[in-house]
């Protein structure tokens, strides 16, 4: 009976979050940060290490994990960095995964240890300098990789903010009020602009946080980038497919069911 209560996962990624518009999952685990995030941190570690209650304040969701891991001292053993670039043996993350950390239980807590092959890949990433996806940064074109809420999401309560994640770091000097537009979509299809503030978190220069100046209410919302007056975010429009018939690109559209 209770087993029937488990979700079927339709439309979700391995971490239980809505799939980004046009996003894909899969592929083998490789020794780069994005792959490790997708295959290890998000589906396994964020079961506990997420939100305001994350143990040791270590949040391993896609927005926070890199900034809280690489070059950051461990809380439990302050003389060790969680990830010491180039030195897996002295990286607390590796010690916790391998089960020989001087303090506390082996991770993942309460679950089976990660397979040796998986830990080996993470070791390789640390040995390679613990870079934030150097290949992707160097070669991939600028693109939206995730949006929360995502395209066609149905959210029961108004989100406090919209978070967009891009494939490359954003140029904060290019950020202005015209970079992203948010509008409430009326029943007749007309758009009512929603004033927002835009910020790039210090710990994640690839993320753009869009905060409404007044709370979202019930209804449909659409966020767009580009347009004739946009100054663009590192050439943001060039990496995103424009919406049909217009110069702007819809990056997310969601429905809010009820007001907070």
């Amino acid at each position: 009976m209770l087993a029937a209560c488990s979700g079927n996962g339709q439309g979700l990624d391995a971490g239980g979050r809505p799939l980004p518009s046009g996003g894909t999952v899969g592929g083998a685990l490789t020794a780069d940060f994005d792959s490790i995030q997708q295959h290890v941190f998000t589906p396994i570690c964020t079961a506990c290490h997420a939100g305001g209650g994350a143990p040791q304040g270590l949040r391993l969701d896609a927005v926070n994990s890199y900034a809280l891991l690489v070059g950051v001292s461990s809380n439990e053993v302050s003389s060790l960095l969680r990830v010491k670039a180039g030195d897996p043996d002295n990286s607390y993350l590796i010690q916790k995964l391998e089960g020989h950390a001087p303090v506390g239980a082996q991770m993942p807590f309460g679950g089976p240890p990660l397979p040796a092959a998986t830990i080996a890949v993470i070791r390789q990433w640390v040995s390679d300098g613990a870079l934030r996806s150097p290949v992707a940064v160097a070669s991939a074109r600028f693109a939206l990789t995730a949006a929360v809420p995502g395209m066609r999401d149905l959210v029961l309560e108004p989100p406090l903010r919209i978070v967009l994640e891009f494939s490359q770091e954003l140029d904060v000097t290019r950020l202005d009020a015209s970079s992203v537009h948010v509008a409430r979509v009326s029943v007749d299809g007309s758009l009512q602009p929603v004033p927002v503030t835009l910020t790039i978190p210090a710990g994640d220069p690839r993320a753009l946080v869009i905060t409404p100046m007044s709370a979202f209410v019930a209804g449909r919302y659409r966020a767009t980038t580009g347009g004739a007056n946009a100054t663009a975010l590192a050439g943001i429009a060039t990496g995103l497919a424009p919406a049909a018939g217009g110069g702007e690109t819809v990056v997310c559209e969601f429905d809010v069911v009820a007001e907070r």
Binding site: L2, G9, P43, G51, P55, G57, A105, P112
Partner: protein, 360 residues
């Protein structure tokens, strides 16, 4: 066959190790409050003299022969000592990963309580000896007023919230963020009356362990009757990661040889990158005292990690058999079945385990 002597058992405990927190179902089956068997009013850790006698004479299938030396839990009149050891073997079968075996010492802890002023002022220590380097888990001073039932605890300790389950991986313990894995620093004001138990805690916050700035306020109220108990708990924590509110209700009742436990926790967490999430965790447990020293435990757990997202729920079933053959030694074996979204292999694993738990 000659039964084990306390000295032999003490040696076993020190050699093998395991954590000795009694399960709350025992409190339900006996009608006792936690403080009846533990020096800590909120349960767990070092046993009281009564708890030690209970462990020797009531809990196990076979007791010590008449005239055998009795371990009373004390070395000196004012110094109580204890230890807790847990070692286990487990095998996890995960889709697309295969089977993984894992075994070893999970925990070895030693406890001490020194009554500086008899029945008035105690200092308590709970030290983890292994695995890893030794470290203090709990250390606090406790000022008691036996007349009113009030007490004040100051130092580092585990917070009270819901059923204090032995299984630290229980969903309600992981999701509430309050269990017996991460202690917190601060003060606790408590009240122990015959039918009531209440605590209010002002602490740094378990999430801020190790240097983060913030605070946490936790409260719990439990109504205890001989056949049932009903409790509620709430917690608010503030940290750099975001504010978090947790509320829970829990209850238990005894029907013949079966003790039933239930808990529902609701979490409002503002620490997620997209904003607030509301989480729900629930537990239902039945403990059947099959025979003296034997317990069959069936647990069903449910977790909704984000109420706004459909079809992301997880469940966990556990069937565990506990056998306490002789005083201070328990063998546990069981199977846990995890169910979650099919694209997450770890959330669909099956775990079989055998555990040796020895305690003093």
């Amino acid at each position: 066959m000659r039964c084990a002597t306390p000295r032999w058992l003490a040696l076993l405990a020190l050699v093998l190790c395991a954590p000795a927190s009694a399960e709350p179902y025992l409190a339900l089956q006996t009608g006792y409050k936690c403080v009846a068997c533990h020096l800590n009013p909120t349960g767990g850790g070092l046993r009281s003299a009564f708890g030690t006698v209970f462990s020797e004479n009531v809990l196990p299938q076979f007791t010590l022969p008449a005239g055998a030396p009795v371990w009373g839990g004390r070395l000196l009149d004012r110094l109580a000592l204890g230890a807790d050891l847990r070692t286990s073997w487990e095998r996890a079968s995960t889709p697309n990963v295969g089977s993984q075996g894992d075994s070893g010492l999970r925990q070895l802890r030693v406890y001490a309580d020194l009554a500086l002023i008899a029945e008035r002022l105690d200092v308590y220590l709970d030290e983890s000896v292994a695995p890893g380097r030794a470290r203090e888990l709990e250390w606090y001073a406790r000022l008691n007023d036996t007349h009113t039932g009030l007490y004040l605890k100051a130092g580092q300790f585990y917070l009270p919230f819901g059923w204090r389950l032995q299984d630290a991986s229980a969903i309600v313990r992981e999701i509430s963020g309050i269990g017996m894995t991460v202690p917190d620093k601060g003060i606790e004001i408590g009240l122990e009356r015959p039918a009531w138990s209440a605590q209010v805690d002002f602490t740094d916050g378990t999430v801020n362990a190790g240097g983060g700035s913030g605070h946490q306020v936790t409260g719990q109220l439990v109504w205890v009757q001989s056949r049932f108990r009903l409790g509620s708990a709430a917690s608010f924590s503030h940290s750099a990661g975001g504010d978090r509110r947790v509320g829970g209700v829990f209850a238990g009742v005894r029907t013949g040889p079966v003790a039933w436990l239930g808990e529902v926790d609701l979490v409002r967490d503002e620490g997620f990158s997209e904003g607030e999430r509301r989480l729900v965790a629930a537990l239902a447990e039945a403990d059947w005292a099959v025979h003296r020293g034997h317990n069959l435990k069936l647990t069903a757990e449910f977790f909704d990690p984000d109420r706004r997202i459909a079809q992301d729920q997880k469940t966990r079933w556990s069937l565990v058999y506990e056998w306490t053959p002789v005083p201070f030694v328990q063998l546990r074996s069981g199977i846990r079945r995890y169910r979650g979204i099919p694209q997450n292999d770890t959330d669909n694993r099956r775990v079989v385990f055998v555990e040796l738990h020895a305690f003093l």
